[in-house]
């Protein structure tokens, strides 16, 4: 059975999680991609307020398809998280507790997860219609001019994910590497 998590996250929610655990995430999460990250880290540098409540927040690296009439949101699967690596330690420092995306993270991000007790989750790349079904409400809260790259506030229910980088410095992909590397 997957572990059921509710946002915003407290450190105590994250301490029991181990890399490889399957979870479901419910509550409010925020989408942000490359450009939104660039803008937000700039705001942090200038000591200005972010467009989302960052304490305990979960960011979903995703840029949805346009919403068809009568639907809550268009398809909304994860994008490659590694593109956000250079911005992430500052976001974690500011209070970010969870990230959802796909693919490898840098050592700096893994270290920030360990030091500040944050967790990086992967969800299934390319399963975007399935993810859209987990979204119960959606609205753009910042940077509407960016289109798919705007920041959306999503209310999600049981979004399936897997713990990749836990609070203890473990990385699921690295573990797979070690298991399969020839002797």
């Amino acid at each position: 059975m997957p572990i059921s998590l509710h946002t915003p996250f407290e450190t105590t929610d994250l301490l029991p999680l181990k890399s490889g655990d399957q979870v479901t995430i419910s509550g409010i999460i925020y989408t942000a991609r490359d450009t939104a990250h660039k803008k937000m880290t700039q705001l942090l540098e200038e000591g200005k307020e972010l467009p989302l409540p960052i304490q305990g927040a979960v960011i979903y690296y995703a840029g949805p398809c346009p919403t068809p009439p009568g639907k809550i949101i268009g398809s909304v699967g994860p994008t490659t998280s590694g593109r956000m690596d250079s911005y992430t330690p500052a976001m974690i420092q500011a209070g970010l507790k969870g990230m959802i995306g796909k693919g490898k993270r840098s050592l700096e991000v893994q270290r920030a997860c360990q030091e500040q007790k944050a967790v990086y989750f992967a969800t299934i790349g390319g399963a975007a219609a399935l993810m859209a079904g987990c979204v119960k409400s959606a609205r753009v809260i910042a940077y509407p001019e960016l289109g798919a790259e705007a920041i959306y506030e999503l209310e999600v229910e049981n979004l399936p994910a897997v713990v990749v980088d836990d609070c203890y410095g473990n990385d699921l992909y690295e573990r797979q590497d070690q298991l399969s590397s020839p002797s």
């Binding site: 840029g63 398809c65 289109g147 699921l172 399969s180």
Partner: protein, 281 residues
Amino acid sequence: MIKTIHCNEIIQAVADLCLQANLELPRDVQNAIEKAKNKEQCALAKEMLEQIQKNHSIAKEQSLPLCQDTGTAVVFLEIGQDVHIDGGLLYDAIQQGVAQGYQEHYLRKSIVSHPWLRTNTKNNTPAIIHSEIVAGDHLKITLAPKGGGAENMSSLKMLTPAAGVEGIKKFVIQTVKEAGPNPCPPIVVGVGIGGNFEKSALLAKKALLRPIGSRNPQEENARLEEELYQKINALGIGIQGFGGNTTALAVHVETYPCHIASMPVAVNINCHVARHKTVIL
């Protein structure tokens, strides 16, 4: 006999392809995923494959794109030399069809007008068009939406003849290994060898269109496909990088004659949402 095809017919056909290609996978890709699921030993990977299949059903039922990254529209044209295009320019019609398709069908617009100035063109054009003049009086249009995540993990290297087939294998495997979980495995690997710099890349891209389960007709190439397939799947990257038996659904190799000094190798990686749809006018 010259056959006349009106631009309006082309525009509509391309707009329809944009929707169809993004909503439903070709049967051979669906079968390959089913086969991978049935032989998967790793529980987590098996569950990911089940969710991928669930995604296929939801996309179809709800008319939602399989992946939010509805890609760069890559268009392959086979133009019969006995075809006359009426009512405008062929390439304009293709671009108009892509713009119409992506706008009408709520597909994501992922194209920016300049590589670093990055203003979205808002209709997913320009499409990337590859055309070939062939015998006959037909116009064959294939639209292959290509996501950015897998495309970013692709690679090209100008090997020299001394590297031999071992050098080719090493480069292909290294490219897949470095890509790891990023291109959304299970992947399809297109390998273009020979020609020159741009020819090898195009061969690799076209290799992605071949039906999964097909083998290159040339025995040497088929053998290389099989060996690369085995070696890539032995890497253990697995479904979404979570381990297991299947990293690649298929490896397709295409070759072309090349210069005495050269041996270019291009590796184009496609995600498990290996989309393409063809229409013949």
